[in-house]
């Protein structure tokens, strides 16, 4: 018998909110291990953000999938804010990027490394992830599985219950804390085995994220991030910057500044929260968007920005539109401009 007479072993499960990490945790719980979850907040997590901002998305039920998973499993969930340290991963990934600016392999090494710190600080025995060999092109090959275990410092304390049978036995298996025979040997891109296992556990209504677990796998998002780095001449960012990349239309009419234009009231309200950092434009003669100017601008630039913003207001066909320009320090003044025509707003301005 496993786990009798001996102290109860404890595992920390990386919970992304998707099905695989949920199943991985569940499989190990079934073997009598005490499992708690951890979710790392990088700033790029897809979780909720744009839903929370955009009004039209608000009618849909919104939940944090990682929390939902933890509640379904009946385990505790610890959030760890890694936004600062994660910058090093995104800015300078040792193993490079995936199809977009997603540094998946470095990211996994980093997160499992953080999990190692956590288990060592909290007296836990091993780490669980929902990885499956061959599921994703770059980060879930057999050799990269080894890389993650090694680089993170987890070594054989890293158990992947869904594909453990395809990998050498880990510490919890060798010590008999978990029974290798009751782990799985999934591989490849098919989702069927996971879905069957979910059914066996009676789990339904789980999230099925397309692509990856974060915005960095998104092409449009990555393009905006690359543009930000290029415009600033350095690959750096603040949390505010990467939040703003998720919101509004982004147009760069001149190399030294861009405009972030709200697409609806929810976005306008959100952008309003950044008025102490950016010059802000808001149409007053007609209903219209709120826009932020990101970059150092002179009078001519601001007029251009106002004309573009007016283009996205309901005064787009009017002779003149009046806008209020507010400096980050609070000084305000009115601008009267002719809205740009559709043709004047060049397609290459759109990021």
């Amino acid at each position: 018998m496993l786990n009798t007479m001996s102290e109860q072993r404890k595992a920390l499960a990386l919970i992304s909110g998707g099905l695989d990490s949920m199943l991985a945790a569940r499989v190990v719980m079934e073997q009598g291990i005490h499992v708690e979850g951890v979710n790392f907040y990088t700033g790029f997590c897809v979780e909720g953000h744009t839903h929370a901002i955009r009004k039209r998305d608000r009618s849909r039920p919104k939940r944090n999938n990682a929390l939902w998973v933890a509640e379904q499993l009946g385990i505790r969930l610890h959030f760890v804010d890694v936004t600062e340290q994660y910058k090093g991963v995104v800015i300078n990934p040792r193993y490079g990027y995936g199809a977009n600016l997603n540094p998946c392999l470095d990211c996994k090494c980093f997160m499992v490394g953080k999990a190692v710190e956590w288990i060592e600080a909290h007296g836990f025995d091993f780490i669980i992830t929902g990885e499956v060999v061959g599921q994703r092109p770059m980060s879930q090959r057999r050799d990269t599985m080894r890389t993650v275990a090694r680089e993170s410092g987890a070594d054989d304390r890293l158990l992947r219950p869904l594909c453990a049978k395809n990998l050498p036995p880990t510490l919890p298996e060798r010590e008999g804390w978990v029974d290798r025979e009751r782990l799985y040997g999934f591989s490849g891109r098919s989702r069927k085995p996971q879905m069957a296992l979910a059914e066996r556990f009676g789990l339904s209504d789980y999230a099925q994220p397309a692509g990856g677990c974060c915005f960095l796998t998104d092409e449009a998002y990555s393009r905006k991030l690359a543009d930000l780095w290029q415009a600033r001449g350095s690959r750096e960012y603040e949390l505010d910057d990467i939040m703003l990349l998720k919101v509004g239309r982004h147009l760069r009419p001149r190399p030294h500044f861009k405009l972030i234009i709200g697409r609806e009231e929810g976005e306008n309200n959100f952008l309003q929260g950044f008025r102490h950092r950016f010059v802000q434009l808001r149409t007053v003669s007609h209903p219209g968007p709120l826009a932020l100017i990101d970059g150092e601008t002179g009078e001519e630039d601001r007029e251009l920005a106002a004309r573009i913003t007016a283009r996205f207001s309901s005064g787009r066909n009017a002779q003149q539109v009046e806008l209020r320009l507010e400096e980050p320090q609070g000084a305000q003044r009115l601008l009267r401009v002719a809205p740009m025509s559709a043709e004047e707003v060049l397609p290459e301005w759109y990021l």
């Binding site: 979710n39 997590c45 909720g48 953000h49 919104k62 939902w68």
Partner: protein
């Protein structure tokens, strides 16, 4: 005895940041104390209570005030 009540301003933060701030603050509070959280992300109305449920804290009330959410939590004793 009136319970000790702390306030947390999580306005303009997007989920899961309000939850993270609540988690970090409650980690430094004692059983029976209360935390009043102000937030603007509507998602917090479901995420903060969910986090409280799985971590053994009690939501005493959620109300809306001037377009902002006010969530009152009582810190639980057991699990930390």
């Amino acid at each position: 005895m009136v319970p000790v009540r702390q306030r947390l301003d999580a306005r303009h933060l997007l989920c899961p940041l309000p939850v993270i701030r609540v988690q970090d603050r409650i980690g430094r509070m004692a059983h029976g104390e209360q935390l009043e959280v102000l937030c603007t992300d509507p998602g917090a109305a479901s995420d903060v209570p969910a986090w409280c449920r799985i971590n053994g804290h009690r939501v005493l009330g959620i109300r809306e005030r001037d377009g902002e959410l006010v969530i009152l939590i009582e810190v639980g004793g057991g699990k930390r």
